[in-house]
């Protein structure tokens, strides 16, 4: 029996630009198994980030079905989808997207504010997540007091703090120097191997794709 956690069936996405319909993804179907590390590669405009957004539930397909852990997310209402994201998806962005006015601790705590956890439980979870990424000693630092690599590690701590079903990472090393990029990739690899996290990562970097177990290539909206 298949252990797939993500199942895409005939997923298409197109955008309206003026009166034109611009197709971005064409009838994609594939599964991702639990604990898999999938890299999505392809040239700019191939639709990889759009595909990642659809899986993460921040965009909706024009047609087709996206089932994650048995839930057809395309059918969820706006607010149910927001709740679903809070419980099931951890985000890692290219430019980290930390809130500059919040400390590392507060940034990591943000997704937990959407849960019913007590303050003490939240604290425990945040401290654990920050220790996993090796930043337990930087909790009270603001993003501007951290290096790019450290900021991305805080973002990863934010992504894992709710123990989500999947982690989506959009070019997580795209804004980092080589050494920091290696650190981040090693961290993602550890999360996948040691903590059995399912990760889907969009990347341009072949070295980054190497650490992923599976790589899918997209071109003009088709899997190649």
């Amino acid at each position: 029996m298949s252990n797939s956690i993500i199942s895409l069936v005939n997923v298409s996405k197109s955008y309206k630009r003026d009166s034109f319909n611009v197709p971005v993804l064409n009838h994609l179907s594939f599964d991702v198994e639990s604990g898999e590390f999938l890299a999505l590669m392809g040239p700019s405009g191939s639709g990889k980030t759009t595909l990642l957004n659809l899986i993460a539930g921040i965009d909706r397909p024009s047609s087709g079905k996206i089932e994650i852990n048995g839930v057809d997310i395309a059918t969820l209402s706006e607010s149910s989808l927001a709740k679903w994201r809070a419980n099931n998806v951890g985000f890692v962005f290219q430019f980290y997207n930390l809130l500059p006015v919040l400390t590392a601790f507060e940034n990591v705590e943000l997704p937990l504010l959407l849960t019913k956890l007590s303050k003490a439980d939240r604290k425990q979870r945040v401290e654990f997540a920050l220790s996993v990424v090796g930043l337990a000693d930087r909790m009270s630092h603001y993003p501007k007091q951290l290096s790019g690599g450290q900021e991305q590690r805080v973002a990863i701590a934010r992504a894992i703090v709710t123990d989500p079903t999947i982690i989506v990472a959009d070019e997580p090393t795209g804004d980092l120097d080589k050494n920091s990029a290696v650190e981040i990739l090693t961290l993602l690899e550890r999360l996948n191997k040691e903590m059995k996290k399912t990760i889907i990562m969009v990347t341009h970097d072949p070295n980054a794709a190497k650490i992923a177990g599976i790589t899918k290539h997209l071109d003009k909206g088709d899997l190649v």
């Binding site: 607010s79 985000f91 430019f95 809130l99």
Partner: protein, 389 residues
């Protein structure tokens, strides 16, 4: 599901200048708004304090103020015969028929202004026990002497102690200055009623008549008497305090309406300022909004966070405006009272309702200024917002 308030507050630090300018705009509008209401309330409070709840003031029905009222000597006698007038220890009725006239005097700052001159009998002082001579002495009845309210010498150069005032072609000496506890009497000049009637050739016709009731419960009976007696039909008795309160209405309403209209126009500027600040705030934080939404915060949480920010700006502006307006408390100004056509000194007075209405006004400014930008923030598409790096 709330975005922490600390996020809102710390964002102020990110845009110190625009936030400070917006707060200043709201502060100024709130300050003007509060000052106007304090002024109107000050007029009201001063004139309310002028009367006593135990005294009845009789005036001509058609008269809008004391100077346009006239009560002839015969009517005065009829009123004196009523059984409801209190007596002093010597058994004399506490009643004071008073002619009130307006004269022009040179002000210290240059120009002319009106002051009320009230002719009184010795009973007038028993009727208004709060009135005290603070400098000089009481007038000798039967002479052309005057005492002036304490705010008069501050504004009129010829009204100082020992000076002579020209009234109806004759010179009257100022022999004393009195304090009436911040009431409207402080802006009046008092002299002997009979001397004043004589000087103005008014025979026995006074302007109004004030008497103390034996008991406050008698007022309905007094009123009934005036409605029943044909000789008194043209006159109306009013509780003195209420009479002066009504005299303040026109002026207080004028200040309030004009002032509020001006502040509402000012507030449009402040609202537009708040709106620009909030739109800028949304534009600067588009990616943050996208991130928060991606993390699972709902549209309404975003809406609430930005509205809270706008309301916080408004409330800070209100608090500063409120503190500034406290500097005005007890500050006295003098102006022409439309009710009496004479100069009236009053102080800015603060009341609970002014505090509350100014807060509501500030909150409305914050809400109106913040609403559209907050809706825009809440309606941002997540994917588009995240791309706005």
């Amino acid at each position: 599901m709330k975005i922490p308030f600390s996020y809102t507050l710390r964002n102020f630090k990110q845009r110190k200048l625009t936030t400070a300018i917006t707060i200043t705009g709201i502060t100024l509008v709130v300050f003007v708004f509060i000052a106007v209401l304090m002024m109107a309330y000050g007029v009201q409070k001063t004139l309310q304090a002028t009367g006593s709840a135990d005294n009845v003031l009789v005036s001509r029905k058609a008269a809008t103020g004391e100077i346009s009222s006239i009560i002839d000597g015969e009517t005065v006698d009829v009123i004196k015969s009523l059984p409801y007038i209190a007596k002093n220890a010597e058994g004399k009725q506490l009643i004071s028929p008073e002619p009130v006239v307006i004269i022009n005097l040179n002000t210290i700052s240059g120009g002319l202004s009106n002051i009320s001159v009230r002719g009184v009998s010795d009973k007038a002082f028993e009727l208004r026990p709060r009135l005290k001579i603070i400098e000089g002495r009481q007038i000798n009845f039967g002479t052309r002497e005057l005492i002036v309210g304490e705010s008069i010498p501050k504004k009129f150069k010829d009204a100082a102690l020992g000076k002579k005032l020209k009234i109806a072609g004759d010179f009257w000496t100022v022999v004393g200055i009195f304090s009436a506890g911040g009431s409207g009497f402080d802006s009046e000049v008092w002299g002997d009623a009979l001397q004043l009637l004589n000087a103005f050739n008014r025979s026995t016709s006074v302007s109004t008549l004030t008497f103390k009731m034996t008991t406050g419960e008698d007022f309905p009976k007094i009123k009934a008497e005036f409605e029943k007696d044909r000789r008194l039909l043209q006159f109306v008795p009013k509780i003195e305090q209420k009479y002066f309160e009504e005299q303040s209405e026109m002026m207080a309403t004028f200040i309030r309406v004009l002032g509020t209209a001006v502040t509402v126009i000012f507030s449009l500027g402040a609202v537009i300022g708040a709106m620009i600040t909030m739109y800028a705030s949304v534009a600067n934080r588009t990616v943050e909004i996208g991130t928060l939404r991606a993390l699972g915060f709902r549209r309404r949480s975003i809406l609430a966070a930005f509205l809270t920010e706008s309301l916080a700006i408004a409330i800070i502006g209100w608090a500063i405006g409120m503190l500034l307006s406290l500097l005005l408390v007890s500050y006295k100004i003098s102006t022409l009272n439309f009710g009496s056509f004479a100069e009236l000194e009053f102080s800015f007075s603060l009341s609970g309702s002014i505090v509350i209405s100014s807060l509501i006004f500030a909150v409305i400014m914050g809400f109106v200024g913040g609403f559209l930008p907050s809706v825009r923030a809440a309606r941002l598409n997540i994917v588009t917002a995240l791309r706005a790096v």
